[in-house]
C-alpha cells in the first residue's frame, strides 16, 4: 500500500523549539493521533505539512507531490482543520459553505446537510457570533464533506459538548468507510483516541517517537499488585512503582524476574491509555 503522506527528515527551528528530524508516513485506511504536551510542536507539524510554515530541511509529500513545490495540486487531496481559523469571522455558515464547496470537486452536499442537522449548527449567523463549540461544529461540517483522501484535524473535539462528540465519532467512522482515506489528528481527549485511533505518535521535545499500534502499546504496559517488599534496585521493565504495585512496559522480562526472585503478584492489569500517554509524554 502506498502512503498518502510521507514526512522525511523534516526539521524546523521555531523560536526556542527545534522540531525534528521527523519521519512519519500515513497509510490509507488508518487513523493516527499525535499526542504531546502543550507547545510540543503538534500544530507546527500540521502547518509544515500544509506549507503554512516553511520547513528548514527535509521532504513532505502528499500523494508523492512535495507540498512546498510549484505544483499545488496536492491541496485538493487534503483537508486541514486548524484550531483557529482566520478570516471567517464576517461570514455566515451558508456563505462559507458556498466558498469552500466550490473549491473541492468531490464536495458532498448531502453529508454537509446531514452534519448541520445532526449537530444543529446555525448557518445564518456570522462566524464571529457563534460560540466556540458551534464554530468548531461548523468547521467540521465544512471539513468532512470535502472528501479528500487525507483529513488533518487539530484538536477537533476540544469545545464540543458530549452528544456532539459522540456524533462526531460516528461521522468520522462513516467517513473513513467511504474509501481509502486516512485521518491524522491531534487530541488531548483519551476517549477520542480510544474510540478512533489505530496508531499513536508521541511528540516530545520536538522529536517524534515511534508510531505505536494502540493495542500493543496498551497490552505491554501493565501494573502488578504486589504485597511483598520489592528489591530496591530497578526491576527489568520497571517504569514506576508505589508501595503496593509495580508498573512495567516489558511484562515478559518483569514477570520472569519476579518469578526468579519468588515474588508473587496478586493481580495484574493493563494501564489506562491516559496513564500510558502521561508516561510517554513526560518521560525524560
Amino acid at each position: 500500500m502506498t502512503s498518502l503522506l510521507k514526512i522525511m527528515d523534516v526539521e524546523k527551528n521555531v523560536d526556542t523549539l527545534h522540531l525534528g528530524p521527523i519521519h512519519l508516513t500515513i497509510e490509507p485506511g488508518t487513523i493516527t493521533t499525535m499526542v504531546g504536551a502543550n507547545g510540543a510542536g503538534k500544530s507546527t507539524l500540521f502547518k509544515l505539512i500544509m506549507n503554512l510554515v516553511k520547513r528548514d530541511t527535509g521532504s513532505i509529500q502528499l500523494l508523492d507531490i512535495e507540498t512546498n513545490g510549484s505544483d499545488e495540486s496536492w491541496k485538493q487531496h487534503i483537508t486541514y482543520q486548524a484550531q483557529t481559523v482566520i478570516g471567517w469571522e464576517p461570514f455566515t455558515g451558508t456563505k462559507l459553505k458556498d466558498f469552500i464547496s466550490s473549491l473541492y470537486p468531490h464536495w458532498n452536499e448531502a453529508l454537509f446537510q446531514k452534519i448541520v442537522d445532526l449537530l444543529q449548527i446555525p448557518l445564518d449567523e456570522r462566524f464571529a457570533k457563534l460560540s466556540q463549540g458551534n464554530q468548531q461544529k461548523l468547521q467540521l461540517a465544512l471539513a468532512l464533506p470535502r472528501n479528500t483522501p487525507l483529513l488533518l484535524l487539530d484538536e477537533p473535539t476540544s469545545f464540543l459538548d458530549i452528544p456532539a462528540k459522540q456524533k462526531l465519532m460516528n461521522l468520522l467512522v462513516e467517513w473513513m468507510e467511504q474509501g481509502d482515506r486516512a485521518i491524522f489528528m491531534t487530541s488531548h481527549q483519551s476517549a477520542d483516541i480510544m474510540k478512533l485511533s489505530d496508531y499513536i505518535v508521541v511528540l516530545r521535545n520536538g522529536k517524534l517517537m515511534n508510531k505505536f499500534e494502540k493495542e500493543s502499546l496498551i497490552h505491554r504496559h501493565r501494573r502488578y499488585w504486589i504485597s511483598e517488599q520489592l528489591p530496591e534496585e530497578g526491576i527489568p521493565g520497571e517504569i514506576g512503582r508505589s508501595t503496593r504495585y509495580l508498573v512495567s512496559n516489558a511484562p515478559e522480562q518483569t514477570e520472569s524476574f519476579l518469578q526468579q526472585e519468588q515474588i508473587t503478584w496478586t493481580q495484574q492489569e493493563s494501564l489506562d491509555l491516559e496513564e500510558i500517554l502521561t508516561q510517554l509524554i513526560e518521560r525524560r
Binding site: G29, L196, E215, E269
Partner: protein, 131 residues
C-alpha cells in the same frame, strides 16, 4: 449493530483473541445466527475501543475457521456452522471457565477435595442435580 463483547484488562490473552473467542461463543450459543450482518471493522473498532488492526486480525481468524464470511462490497456475515462445531465451542467455553476457577483455587492453596466439594455446592445452589 453492537455486539456484547467485553474485553478484559486483567487478561494476558491478546485482545484480538478475546474478541475472536467471544464471537465464537455468540455464534455457538445462537445469539448470532447464520446470515446476520456483523459490524464493519472500523465500526467495531470504535465500539470496542481497539484499532482496526486488531479487529481485522480477529475477523481474518474467524473467517479462516469458517465462523464468518466476507462478501466484497456487502460486508461481513455470520457463516453457517455445523452442529458439531457448535457443540465443540460450548464444551470449550465451559472448560475454559472451569480452568480459570481451578487456577484461582490453586492460587489460594485449596486441595482437590475441597475444590470438588465446592463445585458440588455450586451445582446444588444453581439447582442442578447432585448425583
Amino acid at each position: 449493530m453492537e455486539l456484547p463483547i467485553y474485553l478484559s484488562k486483567t487478561s494476558r490473552e491478546p485482545i484480538y483473541h478475546q474478541i475472536e473467542n467471544q464471537m465464537k461463543t455468540l455464534i455457538a450459543s445462537g445469539q448470532l445466527t447464520k446470515g446476520m450482518p456483523l459490524p464493519s471493522i472500523r465500526a467495531l473498532a470504535k465500539d470496542l475501543e481497539t484499532s482496526v488492526i486488531t479487529i481485522r486480525r480477529a475477523y481474518q481468524n474467524l473467517e479462516y475457521q469458517g465462523f464468518i464470511q466476507t462478501t466484497q462490497g456487502k460486508g461481513t456475515f455470520v457463516a453457517d456452522i455445523d452442529h458439531d462445531m457448535k457443540q465443540q465451542m460450548k464444551v470449550a467455553e465451559v472448560y475454559q471457565a472451569m480452568e480459570a476457577a481451578v487456577e484461582i483455587a490453586f492460587k489460594y492453596d485449596y486441595t482437590a477435595e475441597q475444590l470438588k466439594k465446592m463445585c458440588l455446592e455450586v451445582i446444588h445452589k444453581k439447582g442442578g442435580n447432585q448425583t
